[in-house]
Assembly symmetry: C2
Homo-oligomer: 332 residues x 2
């Protein structure tokens, strides 16, 4: 049996921008399997913006990532050894084993998934945590009505692309905000949004106004900063904003917002949320998402980097917005 | 019968700070009473921050105040002539007749009030719109639980002082924010708050931290600006913010907020509201407030300027924070 595990640990905390120096690759011994345990060879690692927050040592919704410990993260892989009655060699399981090749578990937090119609890595994206995040923010906070206008930032990303497609199914006018004409083109042509504003084109306020002639009723916030200000200025009365991420602020720079007066004049509701706290939403959301991936009505894109060693640079690229759709690392 | 009415109209829109030049005093003829009408001699005029927003000619939750028309505002007064079956000379009525001595009405929007235990002008403050505003923001949006910490800005004002007293009755630790040691002293000693932070003392962040050792669960927002930033930084997980006013921004200067990341990390709910849109809350709120004013358990303070002519300077003072408690004009 394999006795060595390759992993990446947090070597130091970033001071602003994340650099490769914050990560350290290690080969460590794998302990022998105890009774009731299962050993998983991870095949795909999910990279997500929340990891940037976890790298800071300060109050947040999650414990800081410990120094010298394996970087946290969602994984999908195959059971390669089992002394647990609930798992058989060959089972495909989603877990949170982090940035490493192998995971050892007593089964808690592992979920077996059906890969007959949905590829395993989709359970880390459109049919997994990012998809459920989209579902919760849209259905539980924005609660869109047919005919309303919903705007989504980071629209080509793993979460944003699902938000838009679900809102479109709900009968809304759906407008994305993304960086660059290639992403905007995919948001419209690949994911079926009605319009997409390229925030890198330098006409954010004007382009958003043109794309939302009836104002904005719901906003799914992934980025903060200038996009949030532009959106606040276009919100309609009784608009709802689901705050899922604020990637613009992950590097600790201040992100002032100027148009908060709109909260009062338009009687907005703004709510920050974390998908793990909506436990009751996961079963219906996962079922709907997997169904729609299986029948082809929910589109998704992935950016896959190859090899655990590539994870730091892929993660830094994710924070810069280099990825297109769900960022994965294939753990070959 | 009286045939002349004295009123103040909006002469011009402010460019930033309001000045007396924006107002014009006029004496105009009163039309004769038609069948079904009632004539009221207003005794007190309420001055409120929302009037500043109405003076601007831009999108807001209310129609802009028309140029050349009587300034809008809540009033209480006595029926002096009636050709309406529902009103008798001597009835005391709350209405929205604005900045003038007389009001002519078909009865719509007039509410007869009982002045046997509550003085008439209290129906413009603690037992009127400002009191109901406090009640709605606290009970419908913040929904405080015993043991939580609730912070109120503009704590010595007509709304803030009621918020604090109601939250205290709900078993909360209640912390006010007010300008100057005299106001802070009254907030603690007069209204029974647990603590008060003097934002003019130059130690807003430190003093707020000291006054909220267990963080902040609910915030009733009346001012925005630096206070909002300081509060956001102290919010606990699942905190609620009721946005009632943003007086710091009424003069059109930008009011950037920096700590909005707290919305995400603490999963905050922030909601802007306008009390007139909570119609179902008015009857229970008015009943509770009048009851508590009558039995002496709800304290209030008033700043009364004398004579319609004094209204512009009193209003400008209100925007500067010169008033103490509810700002009224006695229409002698």
């Amino acid at each position: 049996m394999t006795t060595t595990n390759r992993r990446i640990v947090l070597a130091s905390r970033p001071d602003g921008q994340v650099t490769p120096a914050q990560f350290r690759l290690e080969d460590v011994a794998l302990p022998a399997l105890a009774d009731g345990q299962v050993l998983v060879r991870n095949r795909f690692l999910s990279l997500d913006p929340y990891m940037r927050g976890a790298m800071n040592d300060r109050k947040s919704y999650r414990q800081p990532q410990a120094l010298g410990e394996t970087m946290v993260g969602g994984t999908v892989g195959e059971v390669v050894e089992s002394r647990h009655p609930g798992f058989t060699v060959g089972d495909v399981v989603v877990g949170g084993f982090g940035w490493q090749h192998y995971g050892l578990s007593n089964g808690a937090g592992l979920r077996k998934v059906d890969t007959s119609r949905v590829p395993m890595q989709a359970y880390l994206g459109v049919a997994g945590m990012p998809g459920v995040t989209a579902w919760v923010g849209l259905n539980r906070i924005i609660s869109p009505k047919a005919g309303e206008t919903v705007v989504v930032s980071a629209a080509s990303g793993a979460v944003g692309s699902v938000v838009g497609q679900l809102a479109k199914s709900a009968g809304c006018r759906v407008v994305g905000v993304a960086g660059g004409s290639a992403k905007c083109s995919a948001v419209i042509n690949g994911f079926g949004f009605d319009a997409c504003v390229d925030y890198k084109a330098g006409r954010l306020v004007e382009d958003l106004a043109a794309a939302t002639p009836n104002g904005i009723d719901g906003y799914f916030e992934n980025v903060a900063g200038a996009v949030l200000d532009a959106v606040l200025d276009r919100m309609n009365a009784f608009g709802r904003i689901a705050v899922c991420g604020m990637i613009a602020g992950y590097n600790d720079e201040p992100i002032p917002v100027y148009n908060i007066r709109s909260i009062l004049t338009n009687r907005l509701k703004i709510q920050g949320f974390i998908v793990s706290e909506f436990a009751d939403a996961w079963p219906p959301a996962l079922a709907e998402l997997a169904q729609r991936v299986g029948d082809g009505s929910l589109k998704y894109r992935e950016t896959v980097s190859r090899g655990l060693e590539s994870a730091p640079s892929a993660f830094i690229g994710l924070l810069r917005g280099d990825n297109f759709g769900k960022q994965l690392v294939e753990l070959v």
